[in-house]
């Protein structure tokens, strides 16, 4: 079967089925890897570990990519400060939910329930996003890019600063924990309580098969993230098809024309930006803070570029493409290469300590040291791979490898003559 043939078949599948197929494929692939390097119960546990980690990664990146797609794919706002908005969300959640009276060395917070903390995190991220979007109204696209990336660094440097590690305002003690970070009741723990409570039979069954409790929790947490993905997808798709979404797409295509049609494009841009940032804040709390601990180092600008890579792979401007792109990036480019490097057999050759020794062996026509060195450093090399994939896609498939999804700007079907009921005019405006 040719690739074009395969592509045509995949295009015929409904979007949801395509995503589900992709995920199941990744799970099978990782299980296969686990079975081929371990036996029996150990294999089951390893596979569960793989599946859990990859599901969490895919879910987290899918939320982030969906949010970025709303900003860039739909509205054309080039935000490369994703890490900063994640940090705002995660830190707000952490400060709101951290216990008011922590043990020694802990950072006190407001001790609110988790759901309130998450809501607060989203709100705060949206507010900061709204502030950041103000310059977007008057600047060139790539100026906004530089403003957002600078802002995300300012945020990271600020929460890293010792001066706000613990402050006292009106007799209330709270803070960011500075460079050492802050602990708070983990979303992970909530899932763990659920799993060990209601899901006790499930855990028992899993442990009979050799899968440890933490791995079960991890898988369930990944599934919870996927539920959030589905929810975000539903909201964003509704949004994209609404009059609001059509204005966003119109802004992306030609802002001047949209303005001349009487739309206050600045307001639309700010709103879209804020919604996207709120979602990024949620992802920041659920993803980086999943284990109940965050530190400034988790919000370096690099993570922004991973989200961008995911969106570009999937194809900007398509919600399904975003999810598929996130899955491709997280599973195939980010997670799998590192695992393959870990378990790839080097046939007894241990990796040389440095590249000079590895290359020197080539002189005696021995390739294995270099190969072993490459395998030992796969976790570094995968970033080179991500860079190369990014360049290749931008050059050859600017719409993304999973792009070309059907995503018209009009809500009226364009491919068949309109029936009389459609002729009554456009629908009510915003």
């Amino acid at each position: 079967m040719s690739t074009a043939d395969l592509r045509a078949r995949l295009d015929d599948l409904p979007d949801a089925a395509l995503v589900a197929l992709f995920l199941v494929g990744i799970w099978l692939l990782l299980t296969l890897l686990a079975v081929s390097v371990r036996d029996g119960a150990a294999a089951a546990n390893l596979a569960a570990g793989f599946v859990g980690s990859v599901t969490v990664l895919v879910g987290a990146y899918a939320i982030l990519t969906l949010a970025l797609n709303l900003q860039w794919g739909y509205t054309g706002l080039f935000n490369i400060g994703v890490a900063g908005f994640m940090a705002v969300g995660a830190y707000t959640t952490a400060i709101l939910t951290a216990p008011a009276d922590p043990g020694a060395g802990g950072v006190p917070g407001f001790g609110l329930p988790l759901w309130l903390g998450l809501l607060g995190g989203m709100l705060m991220a949206a507010l900061v996003g709204g502030l950041a979007a103000l310059p977007a109204l008057r600047l060139r696209a790539d100026y906004l890019a530089i403003v957002t990336v600078a802002l995300s660094e300012i945020i990271r440097l600020f929460v890293n600063w010792g001066g706000v590690a613990e402050v006292r305002v009106l007799g209330k003690r709270f803070g960011t924990g500075g460079a050492t970070g802050i602990s708070f009741p983990a979303p992970d723990e909530v899932v763990a309580d659920l799993v060990t409570g209601i899901g006790a039979p499930l855990v028992d069954a899993a442990s009979a098969a050799g899968v440890s409790g933490p791995n079960v929790v991890n898988i369930v947490y990944g599934l919870v993230l996927l539920v959030v993905v589905v929810g975000s997808y539903w909201v964003l798709s509704r949004l994209a098809d609404s009059p609001f979404g059509r204005v966003l797409k119109a802004i992306r295509e030609d802002e001047t024309v949209t303005q001349s049609l009487g739309k206050d494009t600045r307001l639309f841009k700010i709103k879209a930006f804020m919604i996207g940032c709120a979602l990024m804040g949620l992802a920041g709390a659920l993803f980086r803070g999943s284990a109940g601990y965050i530190s400034p180092a988790q919000f370096r600008p690099a993570i922004t570029f991973y989200v961008f890579a995911a969106l570009i792979i999937g194809g900007a401007g398509s919600n399904t493409g975003s999810i598929l792109g996130a899955a491709t990036f997280a599973a195939l480019l980010f997670y799998l290469p590192a695992r393959l490097g870990e378990f790839f057999p080097t046939f007894g050759t241990s990796s040389p300590g440095n590249i000079v020794d590895a290359v020197a062996a080539l002189g005696s026509l021995d390739v294995t040291p270099l190969l072993a060195f490459v395998l030992a450093n796969v976790s570094t090399l995968r970033f080179v791979l991500i860079g190369v994939v990014l360049i290749w896609i931008i050059q050859n498939q600017p719409e993304g490898i999973l792009g070309h999804r059907n995503d018209p700007a009009a809500s009226v079907p364009l491919d068949r003559p309109s029936s009389p009921e459609h002729e009554s005019g456009g629908e009510a405006d915003e």
Partner: protein, 371 residues
């Protein structure tokens, strides 16, 4: 006349451009505070510290020198970024990693050459480990050799990257090029990490110190950075103003289509832009490592935002703006220590970038298109 005019002028600015007025007030306050600190008095108003504190003239001079040195290197690197921005019309996010590439090429050459006679194995030398560290006064010829290799090697790398990545997409929009440059940045940075590892290595050391005034000393390596950067900046100025190539580059920066119509070989100008920008980026990376003494695979990436700040503050596209913006941002980064805790000085430099973009998006030198 005089005062009355200034007052009305000031009032007009305050009404018409509130942002500028706020910045002017903040700067005036900071200057007053600095003066009070230098005198060593503290002014209280209703029990609140209004301004003042203490700061010695010596430490102020040291901060000024540090800021100037970093600023010169940043400005030097900024020239290339500014040129690619105006001539190829995209923000090159790989520029910081080009700086790293130059630094590594130059320093590996200089370090290996300096320690070949010792018994340290080649693999350790290549990884910038275990050898004697260089200084300008102890081995100026070796440092110079490294400088030349840094410039030439970086040019080779930028030309290769242009051939593979940017040339096939000359007609793409600026965001596509920006994304491609992010890909280049990732690939370059992690290739360096793959070859040299992720550790920080010490490669340069201080040869001698020249005591200028009490509390202020300048090292031989800092002097070298100062001299080379100033000479290169003058050279760039002469190139732009006196040569045909400079005129062609300025013409292309102003209006590419017009330049092409008038018979300027645009592709050749683009290549020369990469050559010039790459050489300056490599040199500045090499010199910064000389001044700091240490090198790591991601130092150029960390520097990139500072370079962007310099270029934007100076007015993107303007080469003189890049030089001046570099020095300005370097000084802000260093002098912010007077008013801010040490963890926040870098944030202050980025804040200046955002404020300038908001108040004057065309930069301080914007509108004066020189190149």
């Amino acid at each position: 006349m005089g005062i009355a005019d200034t007052v009305t002028g000031g009032r007009r600015i305050a009404v018409e451009r509130p942002g500028t007025a706020v910045v002017a007030v903040v700067v005036a306050y900071l200057l007053a505070d600095l003066a009070a600190k230098l005198v060593g008095t503290t002014v209280f108003f209703l029990g609140v510290r209004l301004f003042g504190g203490s700061l010695t003239v010596g430490s102020l001079f040291t901060m000024l020198l540090d800021g100037l040195l970093v600023g010169l290197a940043v400005g030097l690197a900024g020239i290339g970024l500014s040129m690619t921005y105006s001539i190829l019309d995209f923000a090159n996010f790989a520029h910081g990693d080009t700086v790293t590439v130059g630094a590594f090429l130059g320093w590996v050459t200089a370090y290996v050459a300096a320690n070949l006679a010792t018994s340290v194995p080649f693999s350790s030398l290549f990884l910038l480990n275990d050898g004697n560290q260089l200084s300008v006064s102890a081995g100026w010829a070796l440092v110079l050799l490294g400088l030349v290799v840094a410039a030439v090697g970086t040019v080779a790398v930028t030309l290769l990257v242009d051939r593979l990545v940017y040339r096939p997409m000359r007609d793409s929009d600026n965001i596509s090029l920006l994304i491609a440059s992010i890909g280049v940045a990732l690939a370059l940075r992690y290739l360096i990490a793959f070859v040299f590892g992720a550790q920080t290595s010490g490669v340069a050391t201080v040869g001698f110190q020249l005591r200028l005034v009490t509390g202020l000393a300048v090292t031989d390596n800092e002097l070298a950075l100062l001299v080379v950067a100033v000479v290169l900046m003058i050279a760039v100025h002469v190139l732009l103003q006196r040569t045909k190539l400079g005129k062609a580059m300025r013409a292309m920066a102003d209006n590419e289509d017009l330049a092409r119509v008038t018979g300027i070989p645009t592709e050749r100008v683009v290549r020369l832009t990469w050559i010039l920008g790459g050489a300056l980026a490599g040199t500045s990376g090499y010199l910064l490592v000389l001044e700091r003494g240490t090198i790591a695979f991601n130092f150029g990436w960390i520097l990139l935002l500072l370079i962007f700040a310099a270029v934007i503050v100076g007015g993107i596209g303007s080469i003189y703006g890049a030089m001046a913006g570099g020095v300005l941002i370097g000084l802000v980064d260093s002098l912010a220590l007077i008013w801010l805790p040490s963890g926040l000085t870098r944030a202050a430099a980025f804040a200046v970038l955002i404020v300038v973009l908001l108040i004057r998006p065309s930069g301080i030198f914007g509108g004066v298109t020189t190149a």
